[in-house]
Amino acid sequence: MSSRVDERPLLELRGVRKTFAPRGRRARRTASAVAAVDGIDLALQAGTTTALVGESGSGKSTLARLIVRLHDADEGTITFDGQEIQALDEKAFRPLRRRVQMVFQNPLTSFDPSQTIGASILETMRLAPDDEPEQERLGRLLSEVGLSPRFAGLRPREMSGGELQRAGIARALSVRPDLVVMDEPTSALDMSIQGQVLELLADLQRRHRLTYLLVTHDLRAVRMMADRVVVMYLGQVVEEGPTEAVFGDPRHPYTRGLLYAYDLSGRDEERDRDVRIRGSLRTPRPGDVGCRLVGRCPLSADRCGEPQALAELAPGHRARCWRAAEGQIAGDRQPHATTDPTDLGELT
């Protein structure tokens, strides 16, 4: 984990918004457009790992796809290494495409089943030619991800999930990227194998000074890998900060509820009342301007119907909740720690 901060982030998002309109006449009549990503600011420092955390419907995968430009944003700017990528046409973007690579959740479906692994990797590798002979470069790539050269001749069906995910990482690295966006890279793998892939990713990051954006719902992987965590709920960032701060001292009721939901062993009635997130995801109605957690949040009040700003609570640690901003939420184990003045002192 590095705490060093560059002057300029490698990737910077400002006010990014992406709306999906309902398709078909009937759907347009009955449903309204959903902002999957609704005004996101994000900055990734070179050589660090940022985790994007959220449940289904949070918009984390849409955001990842915007960054690798599988979608175009409706509003906002995405700046990669000083260049605004939304303004570029496909041809002008091509040199940048090499520098931003993606690793997918399911390695079995992200490889062509009829081609050998070697052929698939070579196809991508040719986008970034260099002087080294192709076969040597392929062998070196495979060994770098811990696969022996014989894997080049295998087809996806002949490999285990962990081996395939290593091959997926080799393919992403074959074009020497700066930023690797990973969508649930270990979620399809067995528990005893997940750590192998995470260890490999950490090692490759150190060696090549890679920047990672880790999109996942797996908080265990986040704890092991990430320098910073960004928690999303219904298209918005609700909390962000250094991993230790967000996990050790979560301030947004959603983050607290999420950590509580994962911690299946530490349940008791009092925490259940104060921390547990109720019900299931609800889509905001047009005209809703307040906190999107209203109705599920145990601490909801009238004021939550007003727009909530992402307020800075400590250097680099922000939350989108007026209670958090006023210091009403401090210390994970003390949901209403307002009586202790020392707790409030830290926040101001």
């Binding site: 285990s160 528990m191 997940q194 260890e199």
Partner: protein, 332 residues
């Protein structure tokens, strides 16, 4: 089957005088009879009446195959070669299909991972649950419907009489899983098998569904066989844990014991993976063995840092090293 076979008891039978379900020496295989591929090599299991037993394992461990064997619904081309599955005094492996059909859904029910896929999309959920109830208990249509709505209400489905008339696609993942749980409980079974019941659900919804399973199983007095890859789920729900790996039972005992003082090196590694020390990335080296590639030794030997020649030569028998705590390992 011969009398000798029906009387063979699992070494685990010692845990309770008369377990509700007891699997002994179960071997399940596929492929040609002359060169069979063993999917389950040596599965033992005991489920005392009203207990909650968690089976934890990774892909290929045989945890779901064991459930299929209990329910007598092994996939095409897969057959049980040896072993007994004693349930409430009967050997399920020798029962005629007609009787198995009465047991499935009645005395033993299943909650599967993908609830929406397990429901009939063309029937309202209420009608499906009521149908199961009528087929197994023979109550009137009206009575079955009343029970269905009551059960949906008890499982925390809002407006149960309205929701009972909805179709499966109207339900969110968490709500659909509650419907599947209702279907599993409607006939007051003695054993509920839940196969990865919350995998694929969001964490906040997972916690709710586990609570529903917990409460409803407790209220009905049924035993629970919870199959999961997630030790955290097993830890939260079960009082007995069975650890399976590559078709063999490696460890069995009280949840407290197995999770806090694991005896098998595999269980130890798995717990470390789930809850790694601060600032560390934990894993078990090597790969999970493919079915049919295992020799005569311990299935975990290839990945175990304590493996000796003895481990590679012979699969260790289950031994009771602590009270009610069995392990298949040559060490200790």
């Amino acid at each position: 089957m011969s009398a000798a076979q029906t009387q063979s008891r699992s070494v685990l039978a010692g845990i309770a005088d008369d377990p509700l379900l007891e699997i002994s020496g179960l071997v399940v295989e596929t492929g040609p009879a002359r060169r069979p591929i063993e999917l389950l090599r040596s599965i033992e299991l005991a489920i005392p009446k009203g207990a909650r037993v968690g089976v934890v394992g990774e892909s290929g461990s045989g945890k779901s195959m064991t459930a299929s064997a209990i329910l007598g619904v092994l996939p095409n081309g897969v057959r049980a070669r040896a072993g007994t599955i004693r349930f409430d005094g009967r050997d399920l492996m020798t029962l005629p299909e007609r009787e198995m059909r009465r047991i499935r859904g009645g005395e033993i029910s299943l909650v599967s991972q993908n609830a929406v896929a397990s429901l009939n999309p063309l029937m309202t959920v209420g009608a499906q649950i009521a149908k199961v109830c009528r087929e197994h208990t023979g109550v009137s249509k009206q009575e079955a419907w009343t029970r269905t709505v009551e059960l949906l209400d008890a499982l925390g489905i809002p407006e149960p009489d309205v929701r009972a008339r909805s179709y499966p696609h109207h339900f969110s993942g968490g709500m659909a899983q509650r419907v599947a749980i209702a279907m599993a409980l409607i006939c007051s079974p003695q054993l509920v098998i839940a196969d990865e019941p919350t995998t694929g659900l969001d964490a906040t919804i997972q916690a709710q569904v586990l609570e529903v399973i917990d409460g409803s199983v407790k209220a009905s007095g049924a035993a629970l066989l919870l199959i999961s890859h997630d030790l955290a789920v097993i830890r939260a729900m079960c009082d007995i844990v069975a650890v399976v790996y590559a078709g063999s039972l490696l460890e069995y005992g009280p949840a407290d014991e197995v999770l806090n003082r694991p005896l098998s090196p595999y269980t130890q590694g798995l717990i470390r993976c789930m809850d790694p020390p601060e600032g560390e990335i934990a894993f078990i080296p090597g790969r999970i063995p493919e079915p049919g590639t295992l020799g005569a030794g311990c299935p975990f030997a290839e990945r175990c840092d304590r493996a000796t020649d003895a481990c590679r030569a012979q699969q260790p028998a289950l031994r009771q090293l602590r009270p009610d705590h069995w392990v298949s390992c040559h060490h200790e």
